[in-house]
């Protein structure tokens, strides 16, 4: 069972209230596809991913980034049992999408970097730690149903 301190809860709520879901979702997913190009294997139907400029302006990438942020918001709303809330999502990623779970960490790292650049100095080490813990819990929940 994951326990959250008051600081962690408040901090994570605060981060999500400050970020623009469209901007962050799109930027994080694009960055992941650019920095870790092997992740493009899951997006064969997305059209032009030939270079960084194409990826950054691809509307399907942007739309999907928004979907990912929607998933994170679900975790935010179910912080006390993310594992349970994500059970179906985990099955989806393992059975249907067949995503190598190591990729979740790559996207989480890109999300951290994008949120950091959005929040600037207010993304202090303590805020960073709370966000890192949240993402680690989300990633673990997504990995849970793999077998």
């Amino acid at each position: 069972m994951v326990t959250w301190t008051d600081f962690e809860r408040a901090t994570i709520q605060d981060i999500f209230s400050k970020i623009d879901y469209d901007v962050v979702g799109s930027a994080a997913l694009s960055r992941c596809l650019i920095v870790y190009p092997w992740t493009q294997r899951y997006f064969g139907s997305f059209g032009n991913l030939y270079n960084a400029a194409a990826i950054s302006s691809n509307p399907r990438v942007a739309a999907h980034g928004r979907v990912v942020l929607g998933g994170l918001e679900k975790a935010l709303q179910n912080m006390d049992d993310i594992k349970q809330a994500f059970a179906d999502l985990s099955v989806l990623h393992s059975e249907k999408l067949q995503v190598d779970p190591d990729n979740f960490k790559l996207l989480a790292d890109c999300l951290t970097i994008v949120v950091a650049s959005q929040l600037g100095k207010s993304f202090t080490p303590e805020v960073h730690a709370a966000f890192a813990k949240f993402l680690a819990v989300v990633v673990a929940a997504l990995r849970k149903q793999y077998h």
Binding site: V35, I113, S117, T124, E126, H128, A129
Partner: protein
């Protein structure tokens, strides 16, 4: 992993020209941040009086680390040879588990994103990520 292309090296050098001006600050922030976000890394610094972000030993050591990164940029064409003695230091004296190089690299990238939000584009990000990974590999060279 993949070796650095001419394009990667050019991107690293161009970005570093700007980033080097704040190297000490970046190093201190990255190190302090790492100790908070990944507390298992504190085990290597038990001999410091104060491990909090912004403390004197953290600041000083952050500068030392970034000095190493700067050195690596200048030796980007042959990191293994260039970082030989640093590798020996980490392997035989410090004995830092190389998994931690990845952790510190991530924290450096986060601080670069905070400090240079407009310059740390996805293209610069991938070049720096590759560079730090190559640096970590060169540092691991003498381990076994």
């Amino acid at each position: 992993m993949t070796s650095l292309s001419a394009k990667d090296k050019a991107a690293v050098k161009a970005f570093w020209a700007k980033a080097s001006l704040k190297a000490g600050e970046v190093g201190a922030d990255a190190l302090g941040r790492m100790l908070v976000v990944y507390p298992q890394t504190k085990t290597y610094f038990a001999h410091w009086k104060d491990l909090s972000p912004g403390s004197a030993p953290v600041k000083k050591h952050g500068q030392t680390v970034m000095g190493g990164v700067a050195d690596a940029v200048s030796k980007i064409d042959n990191l293994t040879a260039g970082l030989l003695s640093l590798s020996e230091l980490h392997a035989f004296t410090l004995r830092v588990d190389p998994a931690n190089f990845k952790i510190l690299s991530h924290n450096i990238l986060v601080v670069l994103a905070i400090t240079f939000p407009d310059d740390f584009t996805p293209e610069v990000h991938v070049a720096m990520d590759k560079f730090l990974a190559a640096l970590a590999l060169a540092l691991s060279e003498k381990y076994r």
